[in-house]
C-alpha cells in the first residue's frame, strides 16, 4: 500500500467516524454499532494496556461507548478527530481507575516490560481494519524514530497515570529534563505523524 492510498484511507475513515458520531447524536443506534466496530479494538487495547486487567478494560470500554452514546452532541470536530476524542475518554477513565485502586506501583511492576521502547513490528491481527493497521504502524514507526529516552518519557506520560514528579522519580532524572524530553518527543511525534497520517 502506498503512502497516498493510506492517507486517503485515513481521511475517509476519520470522515466516516465523524458521520457516525453525528448520527449517534441523532439517536441512531445502528451508528453506535458502526462506531463500535471501528473503534472498539484500539480502545480496548488502550484500556487493557493501562489497566492490565481484562474485566476492568471491558468496563472502561463499555462506559466510554455509553458516554459517546449520550454525549455525541458535545463532540467538537474543530478540536480533533473522533478517534482522538474517544481515546482521550478511554485514557482518562482507565487512569482514574488506576489511581482509585491505588495499585499503580503494582501495575507498573507487572507491565514494566511494556514501558520499554515498543517493538516496531507489532503483531497486528489480520482482521483489524486497514485504517487501524496503517495508523498503528505509523504511530509505532514514529515512536521508534524518537530517542529511546524520549520514547520512554512519552509512554510513561501517556500510559502510566503518573505525575510529572513521579515520572521524574521513576526515570531517576531531574524534572526539567523529563519535561524537555516530553516536549521534544511529542513535537517530533507530531511532525512525523503529520506527514504520515
Amino acid at each position: 500500500m502506498t503512502g497516498t492510498q493510506s492517507n486517503l484511507t485515513g481521511e475517509d475513515q476519520g470522515r466516516g467516524q465523524a458521520e457516525l458520531l453525528a448520527a449517534i447524536a441523532r439517536g441512531e443506534k445502528a451508528a453506535l454499532a458502526g462506531l463500535y466496530d471501528s473503534l472498539s479494538r484500539p480502545l480496548y487495547s488502550l484500556a487493557y494496556r493501562i489497566l492490565g486487567d481484562d474485566a476492568e478494560a471491558k468496563d472502561v470500554v463499555q462506559d466510554v461507548f455509553l458516554q459517546i452514546w449520550r454525549k455525541a452532541g458535545t463532540f467538537d470536530p474543530v478540536r480533533g478527530s473522533v478517534f482522538g476524542w474517544a481515546a482521550t475518554l478511554t485514557r482518562h477513565r482507565a487512569v482514574d481507575r488506576v489511581r482509585m485502586r491505588k495499585r499503580r506501583a503494582e501495575i507498573l511492576a507487572e507491565s514494566a516490560a511494556d514501558l520499554q521502547p515498543s517493538p516496531l513490528s507489532g503483531n497486528l491481527d489480520s482482521s483489524a481494519s486497514l485504517w487501524h493497521q496503517e495508523k498503528a504502524r505509523a504511530v509505532r514507526s514514529a515512536l521508534g524514530q524518537l530517542a529511546p529516552e524520549q520514547q520512554k518519557a512519552i509512554e510513561l506520560a501517556f500510559f502510566s497515570g503518573l505525575t510529572q514528579l513521579q515520572i521524574s522519580a521513576k526515570l531517576n532524572e531531574p524534572l526539567g529534563t523529563v519535561k524537555a524530553r516530553i516536549r521534544r518527543g511529542l513535537l517530533k511525534l507530531k511532525e512525523t505523524l503529520s506527514s504520515k497520517l
Binding site: K29, S40, P42, R49, T74, V78, F158, K179, L186, L189
Partner: protein, 271 residues
Amino acid sequence: MITEKHEELAALYAFDLLEGAERAEFESALAASSELRTLVHSLRETAASVALSAPQMEPPAGLKERIMSIATETHPEEKQEAFSWFKLVPWAIAAGLALVAIRLGTQNFSLRTENSNLLTERKLAETAYKMAQDKLTERSLLAEKMITDLGNKLRNSEDLARLKITALASLAGNTKASQVIAVWDPAQQSGLLAMDKLPPIGDTQDYQIWVVDPAYKDPVNAGIFHVWSDGRAAVPFKPDEPVAHAAAFAVSLEKKGGVAKAEGTIVMLGK
C-alpha cells in the same frame, strides 16, 4: 508567538500532566491565545494517537451486545452548540474585560475537557451533601433535645426558684428610659444588677446600690458602680450586712466613693 516554555506546558497539558496553579495559569494563557489553542489541539491529537502503540487485543465477545442493550434503554442528550473560542476574541481584545474573558474561557475549556470527571464529582458532591444534611438533621434533633432537657432542668432547679428577680422603676425624671434588673441570691448573699440606658455620670459621682431589709433601720450598702457613655453595665453586688429578707433594691446617685447612708437622689427602686 509561542514561547518554548508554552510549548513545554502545552505538551504536558496534552498528557494531563499539569496540576494546580501551573494548570490554571496555563489555561489562562490558553484562553487568551488562539495560536496556543491550536497547538494544544494538535498535540492532544498526537498524544491520543500514542494509544495505537499499545499491543492490539480483541474486545471480549458479548461486549458489543451489552453496550447496545444498555444504549437501548437510554437516549442521547440534546446536541449542544459547539463552543467557539472566537466568541471570546473580542473580550480578549478589550483590555478592561480581558481578565473576565480569560476566566470564562478557562472555565469553559476545563468543563468541556473534564466533563465526565465533573459528572462523577457532582454525584459524589450530591452524596456528600445528602450525608451532611442527614448529619445536620441528626445534630439538630440532638440539640433540640438538649435544649429541652436543659430547660426542664432549669425549671426544676431549686437554684433558680430561690432567686429573687426584681425590675427597678425609675424615680428621677432623667432616667425614664433606664432599665435595671436586680437578681438576688439569698443563699449566696449576693446579687447582680443589669442595667441599660442609665444616664452617664461625672467623675465626681458614683451610683450606689442599696438593699432594703426590714431588719435594719437603714438600707444596707451593697457597693458602688459607675456608668460610662453607653449606659450599660452588669454589676455584681454584695451587701455589707447579712440580709435575711431583701424587700427592695435601690440605686442612688452619690458622691465619688459612695456613702455609709444614702444621701443623694434615689434614681431606681424595685420591690
